[in-house]
């Protein structure tokens, strides 16, 4: 391949990457733009990207009508809480599967993943009844538990894949030096696997932040996160697109910023994790 060909293919790949990125990002951009329009402009038959009267009216309305910061705080507690609790369970589980394998380990991993294949609505009634009986309905603790359980298979899979990349000899050496299992995990395994653990944590924060089935069903007024905040701005009778866009923007911006700052870890997590 000549230098000219190489440049050409690089240019084609660059254009393709920007085009695909633009297509993926366009709905978010459109949501952001619509959030600064009036309702009448939002439904205009000839919509404009920038030539309209920019207004903050929708943000003002949304902030005055809903307790945004309560929803935001609930989202933070639920997503961070479930991700941290999930890590506490997933790290030892993945350690045992990666380093103390049995004949059934692979089956166990597949079975764990298969629980993700069940449509959530299939277990709605049993989970709802359990939550009712344990007084967990509309509590952040209840949501932390359910989010942890939902994302646990992915966490175990991701961590398992990371741990498998770590040479067993390193852990064996620590054992030779008399390390207990706890010391082996905390002082040897975790420092080496820290980037993988960070990406697992970040991905699960994002998954929990965006989850919109259980967070809508199991909450009411006290533990409702930002997904419920967004859902309150859609209406069957009446125009709502601009306000819904403002609410959506307010809900996604924090996680977009988090994703932006942690994209390196995320990309590594996705390319080396369970979806490799």
């Amino acid at each position: 391949m000549t230098i000219k060909d190489s440049r050409r293919s690089k240019l084609i790949y660059t254009i393709a990457a920007w085009t695909i990125s633009g297509m993926i990002f366009f709905p978010i951009l459109w949501t952001l733009i619509t959030s600064f329009k009036t309702e009448a402009e939002a439904i205009s038959a000839s919509p404009s990207l920038y030539a309209f009267d920019w207004t903050l009216e929708n943000y003002r309305d949304v902030l005055s009508r809903s307790p945004y910061f309560t929803h935001f705080w609930n989202s933070v507690v639920i997503s961070l809480g479930s991700s941290l609790l999930g890590l506490l369970i997933a790290v030892p589980a993945a350690w045992s599967m990666a380093f103390v394998q049995t004949k059934k380990t692979k089956h166990l991993l597949m079975w764990m993943l298969s629980t993700k294949m069940l449509p959530p609505v299939g277990v709605l009634i049993p989970i709802y009844l359990l939550f009712r009986d344990f007084a967990l309905l509309d509590t952040k603790l209840g949501l932390v538990i359910v989010m942890t359980l939902i994302n646990l298979p992915i966490m175990v899979w991701m961590l398992y894949t990371y741990f498998r990349e770590i040479p067993n000899e390193i852990l064996e050496a620590s054992r030779m030096d008399g390390a207990t299992i706890g010391e082996e995990i905390f002082h040897v395994l975790l420092p080496i696997a820290l980037p993988g653990i960070a990406s697992t944590l970040l991905l699960n924060v994002i998954l929990s932040w965006n989850e919109a089935f259980w967070t809508l069903i199991l909450t009411a007024a006290n533990a409702a996160p930002l997904t419920a905040f967004i859902a309150s701005y859609s209406s069957p009778e009446g125009l709502f697109y601009a306000k819904l866009s403002a609410a959506s923007a307010m809900a996604i911006v924090p996680i977009l910023i988090l994703g932006w700052f942690s994209q390196k870890q995320l990309v590594r997590g996705l390319s080396f994790g369970a979806v490799k």
């Binding site: 038959a45 709802y128 069903i217 009411a220 006290n222 309150s232 069957p236 009778e237 009446g238 125009l239």
Partner: protein, 434 residues
């Protein structure tokens, strides 16, 4: 002595705190409900021992949530916003508390009979109407004049077709008729079932046998498909209330047949480009004695699982009272008052002057009869729906067939034949046919 006084004060404070109740209200994000939430400080001022917590959601999500909660006796909500479809089904299941404590001044007899009857089972009221609606014809007076036609107060479907054709100017992006096309039991099925009633069709005969294989249904669906092909906007199979509202408000529709609540939106100068060029008429008929208008109300009810039914009923009494109507009028203006529930509102000249669609709304609601929705007798209650638990499923499945007929993916006969089969199957499984 000082310590005793402090203890006494603490005791009073804790008694006060214990006596205070918090009720959770689940509602939809419609303009009238948002106003109710805004003005609810009036209720808490009158009832300092009751706190309110609000859960506002999109209609389908709300329906899913409150249904799960009421069916499992979860007790998350004390007041639920539900529609006329749910009330008879849930009332019969004993999932709702009877509203028997709305206060002496509530004036139950002031409720519009058609609305009240849909919320009453065995003479017991299970939900109080917050706002009611029917459907009507909204049309552009300027385009009608340009077409050389005059809209009668009570048009026929033939006239609507003729007028729509005359008003259509596809080059200018003006379409004569906008109707719901989006598939769903609350979307195109609501409109087409109401239309079908005026064509003499019905969902079931007296023995719960589906009736989609009758000429009445074929006439209805053929008319709908033909008129939309002639005069409807492109992509109308994706249009629901909001999409058609947007088209009408931006001057793209000549005639729009939909909920009476839209009257306030299309005449609102802030959002509507055609606010001063809108006329109203009753939903069309075919000379068979039934008009193609529906009946719906958003109501407030107390689930049987509520632990604070007295406080919940107090709130419902406040939100659906004549005094609340006056409060909205004082704070927001008469045009913003929740319509369609009380006779006294329509005897109020100030309201009639502020809402040019008020008389048509009242006439439409009063002419609707959920117990005798169509020309022939039926075993069910409901005009644009059939008040049975299976209807959400079969309604949406049938709506998908109607939508496919509209897009041309299947013929009218195929759509009706498929509808007949799938409804027959569901009803047989549910052991309805006698």
């Amino acid at each position: 002595m000082k310590n005793k006084l402090i203890m006494l004060a603490c005791g009073f404070i804790s008694m006060g705190a214990a006596a205070k109740e918090t009720i959770t209200i689940a509602t939809v994000n419609n303009g009238d409900m948002i106003t109710m939430k805004e003005l609810s400080s009036d209720f808490t001022r009158q009832n300092p021992d009751i706190d309110l917590k609000w859960v506002t959601l999109e209609e389908n999500i709300l329906r899913q949530r409150v249904t799960t909660d009421v069916a499992t006796k979860g007790g998350q909500y004390d007041v639920m916003t539900i529609g006329t479809y749910e009330v008879p089904i849930w009332g019969k299941q004993n999932w709702l508390k009877e509203l028997d404590n709305l206060g002496e001044n509530y004036d139950l007899d002031d409720l519009i009979p058609a609305i009240r009857s849909g919320l009453t089972i065995n003479d017991k009221l299970y939900a109080a109407p917050f706002y009611g609606e029917s459907s009507m014809v909204m049309y552009r007076t300027d385009l009608m004049e340009k077409a050389g036609l005059t809209m009668p107060k009570a048009p026929t479907w033939d006239f609507i077709r003729k007028a729509a054709k005359a008003m259509t100017d596809k080059k200018e992006g003006v379409y004569g008729l906008c109707l719901r096309g989006k598939a769903g039991w609350g979307e195109n099925v609501a409109l087409i079932t109401s239309m079908a009633n005026s064509f003499g069709a019905r969902w079931f005969d007296e023995n719960w046998k589906p009736q989609f294989n009758t000429p009445e249904w074929e006439n209805t669906l053929q008319y709908y498909v033909d008129v939309m092909k002639e005069s409807g906007p492109a992509g109308s199979s994706a249009n629901g209330f909001n999409e058609n509202l947007a088209l009408f408000q931006t001057g793209k529709c000549g005639i729009w047949i939909d909920a009476t609540v839209a009257g306030a939106f299309v005449t609102n100068k802030k959002d509507s480009e055609v606010a001063d060029k809108v006329g109203f008429a009753l939903a069309p008929d075919n000379g068979l004695g039934k008009r193609g208008n529906w009946l719906w109300s958003w109501t407030l009810a107390v689930p049987a699982s509520s632990k604070k039914p007295d406080a919940a009923m107090k709130f419902i009494s406040w939100a659906t009272s004549k005094e609340y109507t006056q409060l909205v009028a004082d704070k927001k203006g008469w045009a913003k008052v929740p319509p369609g529930t009380r006779k006294s509102l329509y005897n109020n000249q100030k309201y009639m002057d502020a809402a040019p669609f008020a008389q048509i709304t009242l006439d439409s609601i009063q002419s609707a009869d959920p117990k005798n929705p169509t020309v022939k007798p039926v075993p069910y209650v409901g005009i644009q729906f059939v008040a049975i638990p299976e209807f959400q499923g079969i309604g949406t499945a049938v709506g998908q067939q109607f939508s496919a007929a509209l897009t041309g993916q299947m013929t009218v006969k195929q759509a009706l034949s498929t509808s007949q089969h799938l409804v027959e199957r569901t009803m047989r499984k549910a052991r309805y046919p006698k």
